[in-house]
Each structure stands twice: as C-alpha cells, then as structure tokens.
C-alpha cells in the first residue's frame, strides 16, 4: 500500500523532495505539500484504493504523513 501512496504523493503532492525518500512519519506539509495539492492527493487515494474518506476525516492530521494516510485507509477498509 505504501508504494502506491508514495506514487500518488509523487504525482499529486507537489513535494519539494522525492516521495520515495520520505520516512513514514515525515510531515508532508512541511515537505512542501500545499492544501490545494493535498486535495488532489485525497482524490487520487480515493480512486486508487476504492474508498471514500468521510468528511470528518478530511483534515490535516489525517493526511500529514504516509503513516497517517495508511492508518486512515486501513480504518475505512476495516
């Protein structure tokens, strides 16, 4: 799952660094992801993993790292 997330971050996150070099807990926003880019990441994640993030999960803390994104997707899938 993490490889797919990294690919999405690489394509849509507009990060200042290489998505493959990020640690799981690196803050994506501090790595250059803007609010605007984060929405594109969310849209891509929903498409890739066939999930829908409920509105209460559409917040900064859920999308701030690869670890938090992984945990959110697992939570929805289960």
């Amino acid at each position: 799952m993490q490889d797919k997330i990294r690919k999405i971050l690489k394509d849509h996150g507009r990060l200042a660094v290489d998505a493959n070099s990020l640690a799981e807990t690196t803050d994506l926003y501090q790595s250059g992801m803007t609010s605007h880019a984060s929405v594109n990441v969310m849209l891509a994640l929903e498409g890739e993993f066939d999930v829908e993030f409920p509105d209460h999960m559409l917040k900064r803390s859920v999308f701030e790292s690869i670890a938090s994104i992984t945990s959110a997707i697992n939570q929805i899938k289960n």
Partner: protein
C-alpha cells in the same frame, strides 16, 4: 444580565464609533489617511488589548464582544473598524497560540500597557496572493534572526508599532512551511514602496512595503503558521470582517431610514413608495448578521474545547468559512447599492446627509481583500472531495 451587545467594552466602542470615528470618517476618506483620532480613543480606553486574558492584565473580551465592537465602529467609519478588526486578529493569534511561552505572554502583558497597534505582513511579492506560501525566510544565527520581506499590501503598515510576519521557517524550507514571527517596535523598518490612493477603505493605508527586521528567536512562534492560520487567523478574520460589513450595512440603512422619514413627513398619512424598498433591505442585513453570528457561536464553542480543535482544520470547516466571505462580501455590495437606489440623487451627492458614496466604495473592498476568485478556486477544489454540503 448584560447582553454582550451592551457590555461595557461594546459601549465604549459605540461611544468611539458614534463620536470620534464618525466625526473624522469623511476627512479620513477624503485624505486617504489613517484614522489617528479614533485609534487614539481606542487606545485611551485600552481597547487594543481588550482580547488579552484577564490573567495577563487585559479585559478578557470574548470574540462575540469583539464582533459587536467591529459592528459599532463600522456603523460610522469602515476604516477604523477594519483597522481595529485586523489588529484584534493579530492579538487573537498571539492569545490562542502563545501557550506557555513566557516571552509571548510578557509581550501580551505589555500590550495592555503600551496599547501598541499590531500590523500584519502576510502578503508578499511573488506568491500570487497565497497567504499560505512565502518567499522570504527566517534566517537564524545563534539566538537572533533576520527577516526581509517585500509585501504587496500591508494595512496601516506605516502606523503599526509591532508586526506579525509570515516567513518560511528557514532559507531551505519549502514555500508552504511557514512560521509566524513577531517583530517589536525598534526591530524593523517599513519602507513604503508604492502609492495608496484606492477607491475605498482609504483610511486603512494598505500600501506595499519593504520590511527589514531582526529579532530574537524567542519571537518566532512555536506553533506552525499552518495551524495558526487554520485555527485562528482565517476564521477570526472572516468573522470580524463580516462584523465590520454589518456595521457598514447598518450605516447605509440608517441613511435610508432618515431619507424615508423625511419623505413621510412631507406627506403625512401616506407611506412613501420607496418605503417598501427599505423593508426589502432589512432582511439582507439580517441575513448578513445571522450568517456570521451562527459561525461565530460555533467557533467560540470549538475554541473553548481543545478536544475539538481538529474540527477547525477540516475541509468542511474551511469551506463554510469561505462561504461566509463569499456571501457576505456580495451581500454588502448589494445592500449598499440598493440603499443608494432608494435615496436616489440625495444618496448620490457627496455633500448630502444621505451620501452613500463612501459606504458603497468601502463595501466593494470586501470582495477584493483576499480576492473572491481565489476563495472560489479553493472551494471548488475542496468541494470535489467533500461529501456533505
């Protein structure tokens, strides 16, 4: 029980508004100059520190009271109201995010005495109007930093005693990784780099400036600006701006009422035909007021409960706050425009007691201070992922 709309602080703002601010509003507008007289009065009543908690020597005003104060000032001088609102937005950022920082707390305690006016330097040449993006950076050397910034618009930049400035956290940080930095009097210079001769809100002095500053690293707020922006700066700005627009709307209604009354007196027993237009105007003002008050009540309840802070960083919340800005800034122009139509030529004449020119010109600033298209762009993006409305 004293209603917040009649609390002692709001009464003071009402006095300053109806007195000094009203007396100098036309002169401030004509000369495009800072409303010194009204701000001096606000200082004299220690209202620049009213939002500072009582534990630090302030009045501990509620946001609700601040909004009523903005309305009161806005009824008479939009520029005074907007300067007051923008200053209080800076104070709120410091109050909500100073945590246990003794330096920032000491600054707020001093504010209750020195009544400094705090300016905001968030805009910058080269970021295309995006407040969440910076070109300039804090350059730290030991326990000191330097910070230089070219702003496109810094309201009352020539009059501000102290500043809150956004900047990248370091020269190597990406543009969205920002800090909020406090610069105190004597630590910076602001060189005005462009003219200020706008259509409205002429007393706010929102010219471009070149900032050169240096300070101590303890003046760099530890909370990331992303958090300060989402939790305080954006919502409080939209709420207090809307409150000043309500004041502006009430000002136009006041002129309409006295115009219609004059007509009614000249023909006793019959309702002037334009009285219906006045009655049509009232719901718009009510809509403007209730829309921001609803969100203000919600904000105050979330802000009082740390377990709910996260709600302020949701996309749904950001969209709702943006909706307030979009609808409020359109409503205020609509209201002022209709008020002008009702008063007709009497409202069109600048030297008439029903003059609507300044009010209408000021109202047009609402859609431009943070351009509505920028906000529509954000909302369009966020609505794609939001499931509810």
């Amino acid at each position: 029980m004293v209603l917040p709309s009649h609390s002692p602080l709001v009464e003071l703002a009402r006095t300053v508004g109806a007195g000094t601010a009203a007396n100098f509003a036309d002169q401030v507008d004509a000369d495009a100059r800072f409303p010194h007289e009204a701000v001096t009065q606000l200082r004299a009543h220690r209202l620049l520190s009213c939002y500072v908690p009582q534990s630090l020597g302030g009045h501990g005003a509620s946001l609700n009271e601040l909004a009523f104060m903005c309305e009161e000032l806005g009824k008479h001088c939009s520029a005074t109201a907007m300067v007051f609102a923008m200053h209080q937005i800076q104070v709120a950022c410091l109050v909500h995010h100073c945590h246990d920082d003794r330096h920032l707390k000491a600054y707020l305690a001093q504010l209750t005495q020195n009544q400094h006016l705090i300016g905001s330097v968030t805009s910058e040449v080269g970021v295309g109007g995006d407040m969440r993006s910076s070109v300039c950076a804090v350059d730290v050397n030991g326990d000191e930093f330097t910070l230089n910034k070219n702003s496109t618009t810094s309201s009352y930049g020539a009059q501000a005693d102290d500043l809150l400035v956004t900047a990248r956290t370091s020269p190597t940080a990406p543009s969205s990784d920002q800090s909020l930095v406090l610069l105190a009097k004597g630590q910076f210079t602001m060189e005005q780099t462009g003219n200020w001769n706008p259509m409205g809100m002429r007393g706010t002095g929102s010219a471009p400036f070149k900032l050169t500053g240096k300070g101590l690293t303890s003046q760099i707020m530890s909370t990331p600006f992303a958090t300060i922006s989402a939790r305080t700066m954006v919502p409080v700005s939209h709420l207090l701006w809307a409150a000043t627009w309500v004041g502006n709307a009430v000002a136009s209604m006041t002129r309409v009422k006295s115009f219609i009354k004059q007509q009614a007196r000249s023909n006793p027993g019959s309702l002037p035909p334009t009285a219906l237009r006045m009655a049509e105007l009232a719901p718009s003002i009510q809509l403007l007021r209730t829309s921001y008050r609803y969100l203000l009540t919600e904000y105050e309840s979330i802000n009082a409960d740390p377990t709910r802070y996260d709600e302020l960083s949701t996309i749904g919340y950001a969209v709702r706050m943006n909706n307030l800005k979009l609808s409020g800034s359109q409503l205020i122009v609509d209201i002022a425009n209709k008020a002008l139509q009702i008063c007709g030529v009497a409202g069109y004449k600048n030297d008439s007691k029903f003059a609507m020119g300044r009010i209408l010109r000021d109202a047009h600033a609402a859609a431009l201070m943070v351009g509505n298209d920028r906000i529509l762009n954000s909302n369009a993006n966020m609505l794609m992922i939001l499931k509810g409305d």
